[in-house]
């Protein structure tokens, strides 16, 4: 029914007495089933173990309430878009109302999970520019859980392209809906990029989670995996072979497993990836095989771009590209949030995408290297860290809490730590391109961030005791987007201050002293 509404977009949409829209009723067929499945553990527990007990009814009541809440949510939720705000009402017993001013809306994120795709529905998340850091989805986010895909697209166009709309007001009507504005394709996924998937090591997390779950269940059910004949056979087989061989076999097996899972993960999350630009100045990202995600980023809200090259990916010549944009959720990993601009792909392609998105490629400007004293700091930090770890492990071994091999293994890590330290120094660099402040750091997780200077909300300069002795400082550019701050690590004091002074003209000038205290 809401699909018919979208076709004949009421002319009074966006005025004071805009019509109310409801969530799609077809969700009533899905939601109760899902709620039932979700409360299945409680229900089963109540039915199986609680026979005749009074608390059996609690389980039933719990399930009934869950289903009822879901149904009432679908039935009672309604929203409308007036001239100034998006209003949303929901709830039967516990009524909630929320209004978001339209000029605060920065992102409309459309997600189709499998439950939605059954009836080609989608969830539309309407987000404001508030920079909510870390935990959970932002409280000021509005989620319309079941609208048709067409309606979601309409909302997106209506809420994000308001500038265009005001120009063509009135006359647009359904024409605006029908003639979806031509998009300019910036990047689409390439099958050959799959070769980068194993280097993302994303499968490692899956393996870890699986092992954890199996172990947990085995433990819960008092089930000792060693008793299991298959496991016993495998263990028995390994008992005959020398330790080094079984280690090698296990490592190789793990490597293959992780690679396969990583490729699977790549396909699941990045299939059909398309990055497009819409005429109204919005970047639009679509991706996903089973759960499709669609994210829109207003280019006004783009504060820069970061190219991330974690060590394994970098060795394979690949990179990811992430948007630094206000109002996007920065989740546990940036890929989970909406800010991904390019999945792992060749480095050159990442630079092309940056150039397309920003109009120039600040990330490719030759960077100013940091002074040699920064190398000693990187090296000493890496080596001392490992030495400290070895010392602690040795101490524990000496007390008898641990066997000897952990501290010996830590010592073996020393040359690698030194290599990483050296690589970290090699990566350090900064540049100023007139509009962007570019900074690169890290080895295991190298990132080259280009931050728009007018997005900086100030300047922070840090200097530890050791940096002071080496004449170095860390200049931090705080921004209200992405990670929240981007560092120029271990830069020579005068260079760092000159950089900050140029990036935010006039801000530092009154607090700087010139060549006065030379030597």
């Amino acid at each position: 029914m809401s699909s018919t509404e979208t076709v004949m977009t009421p002319p009074d949409e966006g005025t004071q007495d805009a019509p109310w829209h409801h969530l799609d009723r077809r969700m009533l067929l899905i939601r109760p089933v899902l709620d039932l499945v979700k409360s299945l553990p409680v229900l089963l527990g109540a039915l199986l173990f609680g026979r005749g007990e009074p608390w059996q009814w609690f389980g039933l009541a719990f399930t009934a309430i869950a289903v009822f809440t879901g149904v009432s949510h679908v039935l009672t939720s309604r929203y409308r878009i007036t001239a100034s705000q998006v209003e949303w009402h929901t709830g039967l017993l516990l009524r909630k109302q929320r209004a978001i001013p339209r000029d605060r809306i920065r992102t409309v994120d459309v997600t189709s999970e499998p439950k939605h795709r059954l009836f080609s529905l989608a969830a539309a998340r309407i987000g404001t520019g508030r920079h909510s850091h870390g935990k959970g989805p932002g409280k000021d986010e509005l989620v319309l859980d079941a609208v048709t895909v067409a309606e979601a697209q309409r909302l997106r166009t209506l809420l994000l392209h308001r500038k265009v709309e005001t120009v063509a007001s009135g006359s647009a009507g359904s024409a605006e809906e029908a003639a979806a504005p031509p998009e300019q394709l910036i990047a689409a996924v390439d099958k050959r990029w799959l070769r980068y998937a194993p280097f993302t090591l994303s499968g490692l997390a899956v393996v870890g989670a699986a092992v954890g779950t199996v172990y947990h269940f085995a433990h819960e059910l008092h089930f000792d995996p060693i008793q299991f004949s298959l496991v016993q056979a495998v263990v028995g087989h390994f008992a005959d072979t020398p330790t080094w061989l079984s280690l090698v076999v296990a490592a190789a097996g793990l490597l293959v497993l992780v690679s396969v899972l990583s490729v699977g993960g790549y396909v699941l999350s990045f299939w059909n990836f398309r990055l497009t630009r819409e005429p109204a100045g919005t970047l639009h990202i679509r991706r996903g095989l089973i759960t499709t995600r669609s994210v829109s980023i207003e280019e006004d809200r783009l504060r820069g771009v970061e190219i991330r090259e974690p060590l394994p990916l970098r060795l394979a010549g690949g990179a990811r590209c992430v948007a630094i944009a206000a109002g996007l959720r920065e989740g546990k990993s940036a890929d989970k949030g909406g800010s991904l601009l390019l999945p792992p792909a060749p480095l050159a392609r990442a630079h092309e995408v940056v150039a397309e998105v920003l109009g120039a490629d600040p990330a490719a400007t030759p960077l100013v290297r940091h002074p040699r004293r920064a190398l000693y700091r990187r090296l000493s930090r890496a080596v001392l860290g490992v030495l400290l770890l070895a010392a602690v492990l040795y101490g524990l071994a000496w007390l008898g809490a641990l066997p000897d091999w952990p501290w010996q293994a830590a010592l073996v890590l020393l040359p690698f730590a030194a290599l990483v330290g050296w690589d970290r120094y090699r990566g350090l660099g900064h540049a100023f391109t007139g509009r962007y402040l570019v900074t690169r750091s890290g080895s295991l997780d190298r990132g080259t961030a280009a931050v728009r200077c007018d997005g900086m909300t100030g300047v922070v300069v840090e200097r530890s005791y050791f940096q002071r002795r080496a004449g170095l400082v860390t200049v931090i550019a705080p921004v209200a987007a992405g990670k929240g701050h981007y560092r120029v690590l271990d830069v020579a004091e005068a260079d760092g201050l000159a950089l900050a002074d140029r990036a935010v003209p006039g801000l530092l000038t009154p607090f700087l002293t010139g060549e006065r205290d030379r030597g």
Partner: protein, 169 residues
Amino acid sequence: MSEHTTNTALRLRPPAHRVSRRAIGYWTTTGAILWILLIGLQTVIVVTSDDPPSFLRVTLVISCVLCPLHLVVMPQWRYRVHRWEVTDEAVYTQSGWLKQQWRIAPVSRIQTVDIERDPFEQLFGLAKITVTTASAAGPLRITGLTHDRALALADELTKTTQAVRGDAT
């Protein structure tokens, strides 16, 4: 834009103002309370327990030596290190002893100005000001201002902030 010649000895000068001298007393008091709790706890365990762990005696002695040192040095040092300055365009603070930090925020990017006073600050007639911007990189804090000064400062900042309106992100 400033000149492109490399400025070999460019430095940040410290902000103009120190915090109130009364802050020294405040820092000494709060520090002393922490030490009293720490030493008291260890003493109670050492005295009352039948078989106190041996390392506790060592840490107790160390605490007793460190306590007066810390209480004499820390407030003075902090007083020297904590500085602040507010101009028409910017707020500028300096803090930290081993890890020094200078924060500069343009007035146009300020979002909120808070004044906070814990019971001891009220006793000494002090207040701390927290200035936040839209970034998650952390606010600017000035501790140990006299209450009147803090009020005047917050007033001035909110006024100038309102004059330059924008969404400050």
